[in-house]
């Protein structure tokens, strides 16, 4: 048990706790085999938690990072306002990255550095901060411009401490201060996170009804800068941004029915895309951006189709043939060679996978009501929404689950009530964004891919179907 206890955190602890209770109540020589059985049950999810962490790059060993507030570089009166924005954003980005053990500010020495000459290595590398890395710097406003200097120091390597030194110049606005903080955070995360680019500059697209109609909205990954993308006054759903970020595919109720619409983020308007007839839903970009998979009932039954990114009708190909709704395709983000999707062919919807040409269909979930799959960037996992025990008398909770595709092992990531749906991977594979009704109405939440650090990003109106940009 202690073996498990040491290695586990977050959701896994619940399983250990419950098995410990069981152990105490049944610790009797005559029923020793029950203990063995209990141990086995406890150890299984223990390993399960381990493969998530390894697979998502959320290592058990987190880098201990100290991030004292950046200091004013001069006496300009605008320094203070921009510094507050910059420091809050940088701290938040690094704390959310999931790979750092952030040194509490209360452990900081009295004097914090704003320049390399001010760094007193011993004060940072020894307890109480006990930091491995130190990020520091300064910000100064001159006229309309803001200059930020930032460093990342390995404080245990006194002779050659600098890991990173950056200087940024931008307009002296809070918006630019936020963007600069995101850029510097991404540099640090890239250096210390195994070479995986950070996500602080990524975007979230989602559906919001706050204007009275369901429109597509966008926001920064941390919930800032929420703004409407479409103003169609109809019902628009299922936004999916292309891998290069230039086009946004979504499904919208047009005069003749549901059609796939295409929005150009370069032109800031919808651009033409063919109408296929029938009910057209849930577009999904192939990882190379050349194809779209979607659900269409143009032939009568809702089936998965694939078409090239321009929508050329000669390239339209039907992949599924089973009776019953087939919807919500998602491509293997690493290879582009498989598609996972939802099918009601056996009754309640289940998750299936198939090759990108429609062959080799495999059922992944074996019970309940399973929908909204999203394939991880490393190709290893599916995250999806599952009402595992559906039926009369069952709790019927709808939660987010992650599944290792090769072994079909799964782990539950949300336990906090409400309906949790439409999980989607961050580009770094360490985060999952989803919608949850745990506070009443549907809102957008993020969490680390092991289920920890759950945070609400939206509050106004009803906000659903989040989609994370590819970079």
């Amino acid at each position: 048990m202690s073996f498990c206890d040491l290695r586990l955190g977050g959701g896994g602890n619940r399983l250990v706790m419950s098995s410990m209770v069981m152990c105490r109540s049944r610790f009797h020589p005559a029923k020793f085999f029950v203990l063995i059985l209990t141990l086995l049950i406890a150890v299984l999810p223990c390993f399960a938690q381990d493969w998530i962490r390894t697979g998502t790059g959320l290592g058990v060993e987190k880098v201990r990072l100290a991030v004292p507030d950046f200091k004013p570089a001069n006496q300009d009166p605008k320094d203070a306002e921009l510094l507050k924005t910059f420091n809050d954003t940088l701290w938040n980005d690094l704390e959310n990255a999931g790979i750092f053990d952030m040194v509490s500010k209360s452990f900081f020495p009295v004097q914090t550095p704003g320049n390399p000459a001010d760094v007193r290595f011993g004060e940072w590398s020894s307890p109480p901060p006990n930091a491995a890395m130190l990020a520091f710097g300064n910000l100064g406003v001159t006229g309309n411009n803001m200059t930020v200097q930032g460093w990342l120091y390995d404080v245990k390597n006194v002779t050659s401490p600098q890991v990173l030194g950056k200087q940024y110049t931008d307009a002296a606005t809070p918006e630019a201060a936020r963007i600069t903080a995101h850029k510097f955070a991404d540099e640090i995360i890239f250096r210390l996170g195994g070479g995986i680019p950070g996500i602080a500059e990524s975007q979230i697209y989602f559906v919001s009804s706050r204007t009275g109609h369901k429109e597509i909205w966008a926001m920064d990954y941390d919930g800032n800068n929420q703004h409407a993308v479409t103003k169609l006054g109809s019902i628009s759903l299922s936004p999916r941004i292309s891998p290069d970020g230039s086009r946004l595919a979504f499904s919208s109720l047009a005069r003749g029915g549901w059609e796939i619409l295409m929005y150009s983020t370069d032109l800031n308007r919808t651009v033409s895309f063919p109408r296929f007839g029938g009910t057209n839903l849930s577009p999904a970009w192939s990882p190379d951006g050349t194809k779209l998979a979607f659900s269409s009932s143009r032939g009568g039954d809702p089936e998965i189709y694939v078409v090239d990114a321009g929508g050329t009708s000669s390239s339209l190909k039907r992949l599924t043939t089973s009776k019953g709704p087939d919807v919500s395709p998602t491509w293997n983000r690493k290879t582009g060679a498989q598609i996972a999707f939802v099918s009601g062919r056996t009754g309640l919807p289940q998750i299936y996978t198939m090759e990108a040409d429609g062959t080799n269909v495999q059922r992944m979930t074996d019970e309940g009501y399973a929908v909204s799959p999203s394939w991880s960037p490393n190709g290893q996992f599916l995250v999806f929404s599952w009402i595992r025990h559906y039926g009369p008398g069952a709790p019927g909770a709808q939660d987010i689950y992650i599944m290792d595709i090769a072994s079909k092992q799964w782990v539950q990531l949300t336990h906090d009530g409400g309906r949790n749906d439409f999980p989607y991977w961050s580009p770094d594979g360490r985060h999952i964004i989803f919608q949850s009704s745990r506070t009443g109405g549907d809102q957008i939440w993020t969490m680390l891919a092991d289920g920890t650090n759950q945070k609400q990003l939206t509050t106004a109106g009803s906000n659903t179907q989040p989609n994370w940009s590819f970079k």
Partner: protein
Amino acid sequence: MFAFLINQGSRRRNLAARRGGARSYVGREKVKQHKLKWVVLIFALGAVMMLGACKKKVAPPPPPPPPPPAAPTASLTASPDTIQKGQSTTLTWQTSNATDVTIDGIGAVQASGSQQATPADSTTYHLTAKGPGGTQEATARVTVTSPPPPPPPQPSATEEELFSQNVKDIYFDYDKSDIRGDQQSSVQGDAAFLKQHPNINFTVEGHCDERGSTEYNLALGDSRASAVKNALVQAGVNGTNIKTISYGKEKPFCTEHTEDCWQQNRRGHFVYQK
């Protein structure tokens, strides 16, 4: 030209005056006559001037071309121009210089005349008068209004009402899109009415309850709408009159979180298409 005439006149007068001087009596007599002649001449001149002015258009000096055949004229009126359905109106027309007069919908008619007409709908009567001088057209619009109080058995006026009275929505089980046993009688009743009214176009909307997921429910709603359409077509209803659309859980009829409410929302809903 008139200046020349005037000059000529004054030259004659001078000539006569000189002759008068040579023979005095006769001359006086002749002077009197000359005065008279002179007055007549003035009047004649005036008359010539007036005539000349009047005749200038009709007979210009160059030889006039042969006059073109006169263009036909046509007029058409309807009185009254607004009638109620079933009433008649009087069409009156007049044409000239026309050899061939037709009114669309009535045919060839006399050059002028009048006729009763009882159009079923608002109509624009169109008269064409053809003659050697060309073609002239005239139109008259008759607006037909429906009788204000709709008499009870007027099928076209209350088709929509009959539709909503007779066509029953089809309800589904949770997560199902097959038509369950207790809905078969509704399907048969709907089909019977729709076969009696083969000109009605309508939409079947597929709806779902709030519990499922957005995307799956839209696909499920599509399957429900298709299931209703297929059942009607199988029962003999013309499929080309039927449109289907899915609303998933986007437009619920009922918003409470109860099974009664959910059952209300799991349906194929019929909408009359005007």
